[in-house]
Symmetry: C2
């Protein structure tokens, strides 16, 4: 089974550039060569996606649900091979990858359940009124429809859950959009295995083969080609600010601009207030260190800024953090570049004006990320906006605010965030009510007395926040609402029953929740067209 | 009462550029001078909007509803003054303006009812599960929140319904976003009157004065300044493709890109199939001419392309259209530029290869738009993509398709459209089922056996389509769903009841529809936070 159908003969094959994967675990290149897609192959892949779109976009939710569940089953059927390859390619521990596989299969199952139930199409029915003056009121019915073939960029830090068959792919396939994945160069073997699982699932469930394809690229060229292709109608990316912004510009510069969802990470500020610190500063400190060092801090929800309102428990909390950092074993980072970048960014932070190192964890191997904690005074933080840039890895900066005014100034200086966390007692907010509003205005998710890492796959999850955390704060990349990224509403005016999609037919044959007037109902609409 | 507070003293006033409005009705400049906003005034307006945002965004839906209804009342209270001024400024007939005023007040009322009812915030609750392994499941609750101050561009062709207090303003104020309007230079007097109504309504209902402000601009400079300001979090525009595209680029080029909703018009193709033509070709022809010539064709949903599958009734239909065009009195267009552009574009169309004039209506005054109907063969249409560009005014082009293949080729050549219309019998689609899917893939609204003009203000309306009809096909500018353009979802994780917005509190004090799991309910959630 070929991964993508390659036009051209044997001569064409000869000149092909091949990629291999470096293992942070073994320090060597792994087996397996992965051909870089040529322009004509990107073109061909999009054409195939366009060709299957009319059929795939109109398959029933039940059939697409079967497909998604089958993908999950085929991923599990890959067994140890998948886990071992992912470990070798990313250096992530087995327990984490088993958990991530569970999350990936769970996500596929959640989207399957979501589209099998079917109410996600947001059907709205508004009855005709033939007697209205001066003009009769038409029958109008609206629902969400898939936009077309989409491009998805696999993320490096989640080789399963945000990559080949991760949340982006699952949500797009759930919506009825064919997917072309730009495989992440860090785990091409893992990608090839999961691609195989998707292909097998498509065959088993009778879904057109080309609803999922992937391309391998070297640098941004292939990705750019993909996003620029007129047949692609939306795209998503998870990764660095630079990468996301560059691709966003490609999407915006097309003759036909398209929605582009870049989740570019953030510093995920945690605000710690005095009463909470006094009550349990040591516990809060331990929680935070655990959260920012977990899996070498390679999470987009890593708490990289800890904004503390000075109070009696503060020293206790900082001491607890210091101790926890000193005890934290370094962990492998998933790529050489990631590690190099982490070192460089950490150095930049520590060399910034008035930033003081609190402590570092024990040193590890050459690819390990060493837990690092620093502090800075609010005044110095405010005059150095570069301190707000994310450090991807196990680093966090404590910002010390001597009073409420400086705390609010710091909050108002923050850009958009995926998450904002409040470590507080309710009475901490008695005189500081506006802190909560300031945080809500800057984030996609507000966490109360918890840690921002651990993004629940839930219908109520918002993973995505105002710029620069994400390119479009109106959508989420985690949870079932992620399906909304790939769809748009269409209204049907006076269309006869027989020609309407099932979701809009008066009899409600799919038995879904629909909005009629101001009420949500699963009943039939009781207002057939005037025909 | 000053329209906007103007910083600077009397000397500053002296140098100010003033605009006046030319009347297409009288052919003269009307009374009234309108100062062009200086950069510092744009800046000041945005700062005022930012200052009132925290209060306005958290006012209750009931209070904002009172405000919207009061705006409607104050508009009606302007009485004849408003209608006369709008007639003088736009040349639109009194009956049309009375209808448009009704629509404007009606829209304000619909949004008021929508937010008073309150379910529009799309609350989703997902209960905690403290016993889940390996980690407890948090309590997550999501709802839509207003994004911040927004910029709105008044449209020239609807001086009331898509201008100062039109659908864009009504939806943004309903969402809780302060509005800064870029007034349309064609009806500055009408704008000033409606601004007065909004200000009075704000005072009456205790809403902060600066939730609505407007600026006057000369060309695009003021508009660009407004969209580029970091305090503006979203913007909307209704007008030409060139204008919309230029402003979209400004929105995309900001340090923080923002959502930009440009509704740029379209050719609104009407597909006429043989059985329908044979049965009632004459009636269809009359309907279409009425639709494309109404108010000098100055509607974005004007049917500018009539795509006909040849059949026995075709000549009858074209004859009926010819007769109707000959009988159609020319009507005033709302501006000199609009009229000049209409003439130029009509000439371009008539001089294109193999385009034949069918007929023109009687000539009128120098600012009247003359009904014009032309035809072209599908083959010639396909090789001249420029024939797909909108002609704003009473012009329509019949595209004759000798067979189903050429019909499908023509459909596949079309760009995105606000609307697509099918004039057909159900049996016309028996062998042409894919025509419906091709049209749905290209439009925001599919009309069956009707005319695309007349955009119902309905919860099920989608006014907006794929590029180039609109810049973001995922949102509508008409109907209550238009409120979604100004909001984004925020998740609250484990936040105590007392700190949650009312819409998310377990007891459901607002009695709104909320989604819990896969069910919609108005009940309380029955799952209070673990505190």
């Amino acid at each position: 089974m070929k991964d993508i159908t390659i036009p051209g003969g044997k001569n064409a094959e000869k000149a092909r550039k091949l990629m291999r994967v470096f293992s942070p675990l073994t320090g060597t290149e792994l087996d397996g060569e992965y051909p870089v897609a040529r322009s004509e192959e990107v073109q061909y892949a999009v054409e195939q996606a366009m060709a299957v779109y009319p059929v795939f976009s109109t398959t029933s939710g039940a059939k697409r649900a079967d497909f998604l569940e089958a993908i999950g089953e085929e991923i599990l059927a890959l067994g140890e091979d998948l886990i071992q390859r992912a470990m070798a390619e990313t250096g992530l521990p087995e327990s984490r990858l088993l958990g991530e596989r569970g999350r990936t299969v769970g996500q596929l199952g959640q989207f399957a359940a979501h589209i099998r139930e079917g109410s996600w199409v947001d059907a709205i029915l508004d009855p005709a009124d033939p007697d209205r003056k001066p003009f009769p009121k038409p029958d109008l019915r609206q629902m969400l429809v898939p936009m077309g073939p989409v491009a998805i960029f696999g993320a490096g830090n989640f080789p399963l859950a945000f990559s080949t068959a991760g949340g982006d792919t699952a949500s797009a396939l759930a919506a009825g959009c064919p997917v072309i994945l730009k495989a992440h160069e860090g785990h091409l073997g893992t990608n090839a295995l999961v691609n195989r699982a998707i292909r097998l699932a498509a065959r088993r469930t009778g879904v057109p083969e080309h609803v999922f394809q992937y391309v391998v690229g070297d640098g941004y060229i292939t990705g750019r080609e993909l996003v620029a292709h007129p047949g692609i109608k939306a795209a998503s990316f998870t990764g660095s600010f630079g990468g996301g912004k560059a691709l966003l510009q490609v999407a915006n510069s097309r003759t036909e601009p398209i929605p582009f969802f870049a989740e570019m990470g953030s510093t995920n500020p945690v605000v710690v207030l005095p009463e909470a610190m006094a009550a349990r500063g040591d516990v809060i400190g331990q929680q935070l260190v655990w959260s920012f060092t977990l899996n070498a801090g390679q999470f987009c929800t890593n708490p990289g800024l800890i904004i503390v309102r000075e109070g009696e428990g503060m020293q206790k909390m900082i001491d607890a953090m210091h101790q926890a950092v000193l005890a934290r074993q370094a962990e492998l980072m998933y790529g050489k570049g990631i590690r190099t970048n982490f070192d460089a960014r950490t150095q930049e932070m520590l060399q910034a004006k008035s930033v003081t190192l609190i402590g570092k964890g024990p040193d590890g191997g050459p690819l390990d990320g060493q837990a690092t904690l620093a502090r800075v005074h609010a005044v110095d933080f405010l005059i150095q906006p570069e301190l707000q840039h994310e450090v991807f890895g196990p680093f966090s900066l404590i910002v010390i605010c001597p009073d409420d005014d400086s705390l609010k100034q710091v909050l108002r200086s923050l850009g958009g965030q995926l998450t904002a966390t409040l470590m507080a007692e309710e009475r901490d907010l008695a005189d500081r009510e506006d802190i909560l509003a300031e945080l809500v205005n800057r984030c996609g998710r507000l966490v109360w007395n918890g840690v921002p890492t651990g993004v629940e796959v839930s219908p109520a999850m918002q993973h995505g926040g105002p710029w620069p955390a994400a390119s479009d704060s109106r959508f989420t990349s985690v949870g079932t609402q992620a399906i909304r990224r790939w769809v748009r509403p269409v209204s049907y005016q006076n269309v006869p029953e027989a020609l309407l999609p099932k979701a809009l037919q008066s009899a409600n044959p799919l038995k879904i929740w629909r909005r009629i007037g101001t009420e949500w109902t699963k009943e039939e609409s009781g207002m057939r067209n005037q025909e």
